[in-house]
Protein backbone atom coordinates (compact mmCIF):
# COMPACT_ATOMS: atom_id res chain seq x y z
CA UNK A 1 0.00 0.00 0.00
CA UNK A 2 2.81 2.36 0.80
CA UNK A 3 4.26 1.87 -2.62
CA UNK A 4 0.90 2.55 -4.21
CA UNK A 5 0.30 5.81 -2.34
CA UNK A 6 3.85 6.85 -3.12
CA UNK A 7 3.30 6.30 -6.83
CA UNK A 8 -0.04 8.12 -6.67
CA UNK A 9 1.59 11.10 -5.05
CA UNK A 10 4.33 11.16 -7.66
CA UNK A 11 1.70 11.00 -10.37
CA UNK A 12 -0.21 13.88 -8.82
CA UNK A 13 2.92 15.98 -8.43
CA UNK A 14 3.91 15.35 -12.04
CA UNK A 15 0.46 16.31 -13.26
CA UNK A 16 0.53 19.47 -11.18
CA UNK A 17 3.91 20.58 -12.48
CA UNK A 18 2.88 19.75 -16.03
CA UNK A 19 -0.13 22.04 -15.65
CA UNK A 20 1.68 24.85 -13.89
CA UNK A 21 5.04 25.05 -15.67
CA UNK A 22 3.91 25.91 -19.21
CA UNK A 23 2.09 28.95 -17.92
CA UNK A 24 4.95 30.25 -15.84
CA UNK A 25 7.39 29.61 -18.68
CA UNK A 26 5.14 31.48 -21.11
CA UNK A 27 4.85 34.39 -18.72
CA UNK A 28 8.61 34.57 -18.37
CA UNK A 29 9.14 34.23 -22.10
CA UNK A 30 7.50 37.47 -23.11
CA UNK A 31 10.08 40.22 -22.69
CA UNK A 32 9.04 43.58 -24.06
CA UNK A 33 11.12 44.66 -27.01
CA UNK A 34 11.79 48.27 -27.96
CA UNK A 35 8.92 48.25 -30.48
CA UNK A 36 6.45 46.16 -28.49
CA UNK A 37 2.91 46.61 -29.79
CA UNK A 38 -0.25 44.63 -29.17
CA UNK A 39 -2.37 43.21 -31.99
CA UNK A 40 -5.36 45.38 -31.16
CA UNK A 41 -3.29 48.57 -31.22
CA UNK A 42 -1.57 47.60 -34.47
CA UNK A 43 -4.87 46.71 -36.17
CA UNK A 44 -6.46 49.95 -35.02
CA UNK A 45 -3.54 51.99 -36.35
CA UNK A 46 -3.95 50.37 -39.77
CA UNK A 47 -7.70 50.08 -40.19
CA UNK A 48 -8.70 53.15 -38.21
CA UNK A 49 -11.40 51.16 -36.43
CA UNK A 50 -12.93 49.69 -39.62
CA UNK A 51 -14.16 46.11 -39.71
CA UNK A 52 -11.78 43.40 -40.90
CA UNK A 53 -13.57 40.54 -42.68
CA UNK A 54 -12.06 37.09 -43.24
CA UNK A 55 -12.07 36.36 -46.99
CA UNK A 56 -11.27 33.54 -49.45
CA UNK A 57 -9.59 36.07 -51.70
CA UNK A 58 -6.56 36.20 -49.47
CA UNK A 59 -4.36 33.11 -49.72
CA UNK A 60 -1.83 32.66 -46.95
CA UNK A 61 0.73 29.92 -47.32
CA UNK A 62 2.72 29.05 -44.21
CA UNK A 63 3.95 25.74 -42.77
CA UNK A 64 1.68 24.11 -40.16
CA UNK A 65 4.70 22.96 -38.20
CA UNK A 66 7.86 25.02 -38.33
CA UNK A 67 10.90 23.29 -36.86
CA UNK A 68 12.85 26.51 -36.58
CA UNK A 69 10.95 29.61 -35.51
CA UNK A 70 13.73 31.87 -36.77
CA UNK A 71 12.94 31.09 -40.41
CA UNK A 72 9.27 30.62 -41.23
CA UNK A 73 8.52 31.10 -44.94
CA UNK A 74 5.28 32.98 -45.58
CA UNK A 75 3.64 33.58 -48.96
CA UNK A 76 0.60 35.78 -49.45
CA UNK A 77 -1.43 36.05 -52.62
CA UNK A 78 -4.53 38.17 -53.04
CA UNK A 79 -7.01 37.71 -55.88
CA UNK A 80 -7.30 41.07 -57.55
CA UNK A 81 -7.37 42.37 -61.12
CA UNK A 82 -4.76 45.02 -60.16
CA UNK A 83 -6.18 47.68 -62.47
CA UNK A 84 -6.12 51.39 -61.73
CA UNK A 85 -9.65 51.26 -60.31
CA UNK A 86 -9.42 48.06 -58.34
CA UNK A 87 -6.17 46.96 -56.81
CA UNK A 88 -4.68 45.82 -53.53
CA UNK A 89 -3.26 48.85 -51.81
CA UNK A 90 -1.44 47.18 -48.98
CA UNK A 91 -0.69 43.84 -47.37
CA UNK A 92 0.03 43.73 -43.64
CA UNK A 93 1.61 40.70 -41.99
CA UNK A 94 1.21 40.07 -38.26
CA UNK A 95 2.65 37.47 -35.90
CA UNK A 96 -0.05 37.57 -33.24
CA UNK A 97 2.07 36.57 -30.23
CA UNK A 98 5.41 38.23 -30.95
CA UNK A 99 6.46 41.13 -28.74
CA UNK A 100 6.02 43.42 -31.74
CA UNK A 101 3.18 41.88 -33.73
CA UNK A 102 3.99 43.83 -36.88
CA UNK A 103 6.20 41.97 -39.36
CA UNK A 104 5.91 43.90 -42.60
CA UNK A 105 3.57 46.36 -44.34
CA UNK A 106 3.76 46.26 -48.12
CA UNK A 107 2.29 49.09 -50.18
CA UNK A 108 1.51 47.90 -53.69
CA UNK A 109 0.53 49.72 -56.88
CA UNK A 110 -1.09 48.51 -60.15
CA UNK A 111 2.46 48.32 -61.61
CA UNK A 112 2.96 45.11 -59.65
CA UNK A 113 0.62 43.22 -61.99
CA UNK A 114 -0.46 40.75 -59.31
CA UNK A 115 -0.70 41.05 -55.56
CA UNK A 116 1.88 38.71 -54.09
CA UNK A 117 4.40 38.94 -51.31
CA UNK A 118 6.76 36.39 -49.84
CA UNK A 119 9.35 36.57 -47.11
CA UNK A 120 10.62 34.68 -44.07
CA UNK A 121 9.61 35.73 -40.58
CA UNK A 122 10.60 34.95 -37.00
CA UNK A 123 8.06 33.46 -34.58
CA UNK A 124 8.79 33.41 -30.86
CA UNK A 125 6.32 30.62 -30.06
CA UNK A 126 3.45 28.65 -31.61
CA UNK A 127 0.91 31.20 -32.78
CA UNK A 128 -1.36 32.47 -35.53
CA UNK A 129 -0.03 34.37 -38.51
CA UNK A 130 -2.56 36.99 -39.58
CA UNK A 131 -2.64 38.77 -42.92
CA UNK A 132 -4.75 41.85 -43.61
CA UNK A 133 -5.08 43.07 -47.20
CA UNK A 134 -6.33 46.58 -47.86
CA UNK A 135 -8.02 47.16 -51.23
CA UNK A 136 -8.33 50.46 -53.06
CA UNK A 137 -12.07 50.39 -52.27
CA UNK A 138 -11.30 50.65 -48.58
CA UNK A 139 -12.10 47.05 -47.68
CA UNK A 140 -10.00 45.09 -45.21
CA UNK A 141 -9.76 41.36 -45.95
CA UNK A 142 -7.94 38.93 -43.73
CA UNK A 143 -6.61 35.38 -43.59
CA UNK A 144 -5.20 33.46 -40.68
CA UNK A 145 -3.16 30.32 -40.13
CA UNK A 146 -1.74 28.78 -37.01
CA UNK A 147 1.89 27.72 -37.05
CA UNK A 148 3.37 25.31 -34.52
CA UNK A 149 6.91 26.23 -33.62
CA UNK A 150 9.27 23.63 -32.14
CA UNK A 151 12.16 25.99 -31.41
CA UNK A 152 11.37 29.68 -30.86
CA UNK A 153 13.09 32.18 -33.10
CA UNK A 154 13.41 35.20 -30.84
CA UNK A 155 16.19 35.67 -28.31
Amino acid sequence: MQRRTFLQRIGLAAAATAVITPRTVLAAEAPKGPNAMSLDAALKAITGGKKVTPSDKVHLKAPEIAENGAVVPVTIEVDSPMTNDDYVKAIHVFATKNSNVRCADIMLTPANGAAMFATRIKLGSSQDVLVVAETSKGEFLSAKQSVKVTIGGCG
Partner: protein
Protein backbone atom coordinates in the same frame (compact mmCIF):
# COMPACT_ATOMS: atom_id res chain seq x y z
CA UNK B 1 29.68 51.69 -43.64
CA UNK B 2 30.84 49.00 -45.95
CA UNK B 3 28.43 47.91 -48.59
CA UNK B 4 26.27 44.99 -47.65
CA UNK B 5 25.87 42.06 -49.94
CA UNK B 6 22.55 42.20 -51.69
CA UNK B 7 21.08 40.64 -54.78
CA UNK B 8 18.14 41.18 -57.12
CA UNK B 9 16.84 38.19 -59.05
CA UNK B 10 14.09 37.85 -61.64
CA UNK B 11 12.05 34.69 -61.98
CA UNK B 12 11.86 33.46 -64.70
CA UNK B 13 15.24 34.67 -65.98
CA UNK B 14 13.98 35.26 -69.53
CA UNK B 15 10.84 37.34 -69.80
CA UNK B 16 8.85 39.26 -72.34
CA UNK B 17 7.43 42.74 -72.35
CA UNK B 18 4.26 42.92 -70.27
CA UNK B 19 4.93 39.65 -68.50
CA UNK B 20 4.52 39.40 -64.73
CA UNK B 21 7.80 38.33 -63.16
CA UNK B 22 8.77 37.62 -59.58
CA UNK B 23 11.40 39.95 -58.19
CA UNK B 24 13.53 38.52 -55.39
CA UNK B 25 15.50 40.96 -53.29
CA UNK B 26 17.97 39.47 -50.82
CA UNK B 27 20.16 41.29 -48.30
CA UNK B 28 22.77 39.94 -45.95
CA UNK B 29 21.66 41.59 -42.73
CA UNK B 30 21.69 40.34 -39.10
CA UNK B 31 18.18 41.77 -38.29
CA UNK B 32 18.85 42.13 -34.56
CA UNK B 33 15.62 42.44 -32.57
CA UNK B 34 17.14 44.23 -29.59
CA UNK B 35 15.94 41.41 -27.33
CA UNK B 36 18.79 38.93 -27.83
CA UNK B 37 21.53 38.68 -25.23
CA UNK B 38 25.18 38.36 -26.12
CA UNK B 39 26.28 34.99 -24.73
CA UNK B 40 29.75 36.22 -23.71
CA UNK B 41 28.97 39.55 -22.07
CA UNK B 42 25.33 38.93 -21.08
CA UNK B 43 24.32 42.33 -22.39
CA UNK B 44 21.48 42.98 -24.80
CA UNK B 45 22.50 43.35 -28.44
CA UNK B 46 21.10 46.68 -29.71
CA UNK B 47 18.36 46.51 -32.32
CA UNK B 48 19.55 46.72 -35.93
CA UNK B 49 17.01 45.83 -38.56
CA UNK B 50 15.87 46.93 -42.01
CA UNK B 51 12.99 49.34 -41.57
CA UNK B 52 12.12 50.35 -45.10
CA UNK B 53 12.51 48.87 -48.57
CA UNK B 54 11.53 50.79 -51.70
CA UNK B 55 11.37 49.45 -55.24
CA UNK B 56 11.84 51.90 -58.11
CA UNK B 57 11.53 51.43 -61.86
CA UNK B 58 13.26 54.26 -63.74
CA UNK B 59 13.16 56.32 -60.52
CA UNK B 60 9.41 55.90 -60.14
CA UNK B 61 8.48 54.10 -56.91
CA UNK B 62 6.07 51.19 -57.34
CA UNK B 63 6.32 49.26 -54.09
CA UNK B 64 7.16 50.41 -50.58
CA UNK B 65 7.63 48.17 -47.59
CA UNK B 66 7.75 48.99 -43.96
CA UNK B 67 9.61 46.22 -42.19
CA UNK B 68 9.95 45.38 -38.50
CA UNK B 69 12.33 43.21 -36.54
CA UNK B 70 10.15 40.08 -36.85
CA UNK B 71 11.54 39.41 -40.32
CA UNK B 72 14.25 36.73 -40.43
CA UNK B 73 18.00 37.20 -40.63
CA UNK B 74 19.27 37.71 -44.20
CA UNK B 75 15.80 38.56 -45.44
CA UNK B 76 14.37 37.78 -48.85
CA UNK B 77 11.52 39.92 -50.13
CA UNK B 78 9.59 38.64 -53.13
CA UNK B 79 7.07 40.70 -55.06
CA UNK B 80 5.50 40.62 -58.49
CA UNK B 81 6.34 43.11 -61.18
CA UNK B 82 4.76 43.65 -64.57
CA UNK B 83 7.58 44.44 -66.99
CA UNK B 84 6.68 47.68 -68.79
CA UNK B 85 9.79 47.73 -71.01
CA UNK B 86 13.51 48.28 -70.78
CA UNK B 87 14.80 50.22 -67.84
CA UNK B 88 16.48 49.96 -64.46
CA UNK B 89 15.08 48.47 -61.32
CA UNK B 90 16.41 50.09 -58.19
CA UNK B 91 15.94 48.95 -54.61
CA UNK B 92 16.71 51.36 -51.78
CA UNK B 93 16.65 50.16 -48.20
CA UNK B 94 17.03 51.88 -44.87
CA UNK B 95 17.80 50.48 -41.43
CA UNK B 96 16.63 51.73 -38.06
CA UNK B 97 20.21 52.87 -37.39
CA UNK B 98 20.04 55.29 -40.32
CA UNK B 99 22.01 53.30 -42.87
CA UNK B 100 20.78 53.78 -46.46
CA UNK B 101 21.93 51.58 -49.31
CA UNK B 102 20.76 50.72 -52.79
CA UNK B 103 21.10 48.10 -55.48
CA UNK B 104 20.22 48.31 -59.15
CA UNK B 105 19.57 45.82 -61.91
CA UNK B 106 18.79 46.36 -65.58
CA UNK B 107 15.48 45.12 -66.92
CA UNK B 108 15.92 43.67 -70.40
CA UNK B 109 12.79 42.01 -71.77
CA UNK B 110 13.24 39.78 -74.83
CA UNK B 111 10.62 39.88 -77.53
Amino acid sequence: MAERKSLIKFKPKKYKNGEIVKVNFMVMHPMETGMRKDKKTGKLVPADYISEVKFFFDDKPFTTMQVWESVSTNPVFTINFKVPGEGTLKVVYKTNTGEVQEKTKKVKPKG
